[in-house]
Structure formats: structure tokens, C-alpha cells
């Protein structure tokens, strides 16, 4: 039996840090108890990290099971349940879901992406979800391409990953804001000698014309008439990147690489997330 109690203020950093921490049980039939009852906020990163932890538990424990205690706060519970639907096998939810999530909140529930073909299938799924949600055609195309390529980027470039990357997409304010989160277990950046320096070179390489999807999506954003903000957490490195500027920071060490792309309508003023010590 393994217990993991998630803290109430589940920021992106703390979600990845807690959920991707090493397992403490080696039993084949180990049960993982994920206690999210104190959690007060959920986003795409937290859901993707939960889904990745479930997949990892099943890989490490052949007959292992997972019990997820949903947050006590109903809005967080309903969001987490929506982002984990459908539940994988050998996972049980405990707790109450008494209300409906906001319409189209879980645009794409947390989904492991095994290979490039799965990334394309995820793209088709995203397109249909955007159309159902009534998202404008240009933003639908942009969100679809971005989701597909971010997933494939993680599949192709994650170095020595232990598990498939997990992608989740959420919408807010009637589809005007979309967040795509990709969490992978690649070690290339996270375990490099200076993750912050590594991340600092990413925008520079894109400006120099090197191919790379993150640079491409920022370029495409203008034509698609959307605002885009890219946030990357890898090891101790953090990067916040918009078409106009980028900044890096140092934070607590996190396993793997997490990429968050926030897409909003042009008129929305983008708000920078807190990155800790900036540089």
C-alpha cells in the first residue's frame, strides 16, 4: 500500500513534484491511494500528472490498483473527474461528484500518447471536441495542430522516458481560453547540468530559424489571430515564452518536462504566471 496526499494549493510545480515523486512500494499488487481531498484547484497539468502517475503505478506494479480520493471541494472534484474520464482499468474514484463541470471544461481528458500515430488520433479528437464546443474555426485549427504536435514533440524528443507522455486540454470562459498541458518523463532537460540555461536557448534557436514546433506555433499564432503563451518546467528550469519576450527562472527540481500552452483570443490581455526568481 502506498499513500500520496496532495497538498491543497496544487500549483503546477507542486502537482508535478508530488505526483512524479518516486514510488515507495515494490509489491506487484500494491495499491496506490491518491488523496486529493484537500486539493482546492485543478488544471490540465495536475490532471495530466495524476494520469501519468496512474499509468506509472500500473507499469511498476503488474496487478496494482489505484484509488483516487476526489477533492472535498465540489468544483475541484468535478473538474478532476471530468479530466480523468474515462478512467483507466484498476482505478477507483472515491468521493462525491455532485455537479456538472463547466461546459466543455475538459476539452480533451488526460490521455497517454504512445506514439506519433496516437498523436494524430489525438488531433482528430481535439478537432471534434473544439467543434462541439463551438470554438471559432481558426482557433480550432490552431488548437488541434498545437495539441497534436506538442504530443508528438514529447513522444519524439523525450529522452529515455519511463512512460508515455500525457496530454490534457481544458477550456475556460466559454472557449475563449484554451490550455494544453503535456507532461512527460524525459530526462534530457531535467537532468542536464543547467536546465535553466538549456531552456534559455530554446527561443534563441527558434529565432535563428531552427525547426522546432514551439517556435512554429508562436509564429502561427499571429496568422491564426490568437495570443499564445508557452510555459516549460523541466528539472530546476522554468521558461515563460510569448511572441514578444521570454524569461527563465530557477525553481524546485521537477522530474521530466511539462509544457503548457495557453491560447486566448487576441483581445484578452495575457497575464504572466508567477515563475519565481526570474532572469
Amino acid at each position: 500500500m502506498e499513500w500520496l496526499s496532495l497538498s491543497g494549493d496544487l500549483t503546477r510545480d507542486s502537482a508535478v513534484e508530488q505526483l512524479l515523486a518516486p514510488s515507495t512500494s515494490a509489491d506487484a499488487d500494491s495499491e496506490l491511494g491518491l488523496h486529493a481531498d484537500a486539493v482546492r484547484r485543478i488544471d490540465a497539468v495536475a490532471a495530466a500528472a495524476v494520469r501519468l502517475r496512474m499509468a506509472r503505478h500500473h507499469r511498476e506494479h503488474e496487478q496494482g490498483t489505484v484509488t483516487l480520493m476526489l477533492p472535498d471541494e465540489s468544483s475541484a472534484a468535478v473538474r478532476l473527474a471530468a479530466l480523468l474520464d474515462p478512467l483507466p482499468e484498476r482505478v477507483t474514484l472515491a468521493g462525491q461528484v455532485n455537479e456538472q463541470p463547466p461546459a466543455n471544461y475538459a476539452l480533451v481528458p488526460a490521455t497517454p500518447v504512445e506514439d506519433s500515430h496516437a498523436a494524430v488520433a489525438l488531433g482528430s479528437w481535439t478537432l471534434e471536441a473544439c467543434e462541439r464546443a463551438g470554438i471559432a474555426r481558426r482557433r480550432t485549427a490552431f488548437v488541434t495542430a498545437a495539441t497534436m504536435e506538442l504530443a508528438d514533440n514529447a513522444v519524439v524528443h523525450a529522452e529515455a522516458p519511463t512512460d508515455a507522455p500525457v496530454v490534457a486540454v481544458t477550456t475556460a470562459t466559454r472557449g475563449r481560453v484554451v490550455e494544453i498541458a503535456v507532461v512527460d518523463t524525459g530526462r534530457g532537460i531535467a537532468e542536464s547540468s543547467d536546465p535553466r540555461e538549456f531552456l534559455r536557448t530554446v527561443p534563441r534557436r527558434a529565432l535563428d530559424g531552427e525547426s522546432g514546433f514551439l517556435g512554429n506555433i508562436l509564429q502561427r499564432a499571429e496568422k491564426a489571430r490568437v495570443r499564445v503563451q508557452v510555459q516549460i518546467f523541466a528539472g530546476t528550469g522554468r521558461l515563460l515564452w510569448t511572441p514578444m519576450r521570454h524569461r527563465t527562472a530557477v525553481g524546485r527540481h521537477l522530474s521530466g518536462t511539462t509544457v503548457v500552452v495557453r491560447i486566448s483570443e487576441e483581445r484578452e490581455v495575457s497575464r504572466s504566471s508567477s515563475l519565481g526568481r526570474s532572469g
Partner: protein, 185 residues
């Protein structure tokens, strides 16, 4: 002079196209369908709603190689929606490439500079022409025009023709006629 041409229409399969791997697979299908390259090539994007930049990059590189290997045949893209056009434009700019595309019965370049589009427009008016004739039309010196013709050939929008007769006859170029392309597609 009008020459009847054969064309092969390749339908790009799928509604959502992404990843470099899928781009390589579709490019391989295209090469296989096109066989030994004895026909013009029409690449039809009808039904494609989303195509990402890595996917289009693979396809564009394949078409560029195809143009180099088959300078006597046109390569024209058709039925691209606005989003796919925009993405392809970025991909081609990054590669310093251009490709020919037909929209609403008009041939245009994606990724090419303005003067190339002007040259293509003038060539379209003549349909078949010698370099000297096109140079007169555009009021350009021949060496400048030759550079543009080379770029348009690389884009698949202009081909050299081999008219019957003595080898010393001037080289004749041609651009595709949109009406014929529609009939072939």
C-alpha cells in the same frame, strides 16, 4: 502553341494531418503513386481541415525533390483551406521555397516573393513562351528573367517544353492552364 498534358491527381488522405512521421508516410504514398514521373502532379487537399507544420514540411521537401527530378512536369497544390495555406506559407518561407497552388481558377505561389508572382502572372497570360518573349512582357533583362524562371521551375509552376524540330530552336516554357488542371483533378 498548346500541348495536351497528362496529370495525376494525388488526394492527400485524412482530415487532420500532423507529425513528421505521418508526413513521411504520405510523402512515400505520393512518390509511389506518381511512379516514374511521366505526368504532371496535382496534390489535392480537399477535405483536409488541419495540417501542422511538421507534416507540411515533410510534404514540401518531397515536392521540392520531385520538381528537381522532374523539371518537365508541373506540380500544383489544390483545395487548401485558409489555415493550411497560412501554415504552408510559414513552412516554405523557413525553407526559402515556393510551391504553386490553384485557388478559384487562379494559379498563385505560396511562399514566393512578390516579383515571382508577377512573373508567374505574366507567364500565365502567355501560356507558352520563350524567355525572350517573357522578358519583353516584363521589361526585364534576360539574365534577371532567367533567375526568376529557375525559381518558378523549382516551384513546379513553369516547365521547359521540348518542341519538335531542330535542336537550335529556342527553348519554350509553359505554365499550367487552370481550366485543364480542374479537368484533370
Amino acid at each position: 502553341m498548346s500541348v495536351k498534358r497528362d496529370a495525376l491527381a494525388f488526394k492527400v488522405p485524412g482530415k487532420v494531418l500532423g507529425t513528421r512521421v505521418l508526413g513521411q508516410e504520405v510523402a512515400a504514398q505520393l512518390r509511389k503513386r506518381a511512379g516514374d514521373g511521366q505526368q504532371d502532379l496535382l496534390v489535392d487537399f480537399a477535405g483536409v481541415q488541419v495540417a501542422s507544420s511538421p507534416f507540411l514540411d515533410e510534404l514540401a521537401r518531397t515536392l521540392r525533390a520531385w520538381n528537381v527530378d522532374h523539371p518537365d512536369h508541373f506540380v500544383v497544390l489544390m483545395n487548401l483551406n485558409e489555415d493550411v495555406q497560412d501554415t504552408l506559407e510559414l513552412v516554405l518561407e523557413r525553407r526559402d521555397m515556393a510551391l504553386a497552388e490553384m485557388t478559384k481558377g487562379t494559379l498563385r505561389l505560396i511562399g514566393g516573393k512578390v516579383h515571382l508572382q508577377e512573373t508567374l502572372n505574366a507567364a500565365q497570360e502567355l501560356e507558352t513562351f520563350t524567355a525572350a518573349e517573357l522578358a519583353v512582357q516584363l521589361e526585364l533583362k534576360l539574365p534577371n528573367l532567367h533567375q526568376r524562371l529557375v525559381a518558378l521551375q523549382a516551384a513546379g509552376a513553369v516547365v521547359r517544353m521540348h518542341p519538335p524540330g531542330a535542336p537550335q530552336r529556342p527553348v519554350v516554357f509553359a505554365t499550367p492552364r487552370p481550366a485543364e488542371l480542374v479537368a484533370c483533378s
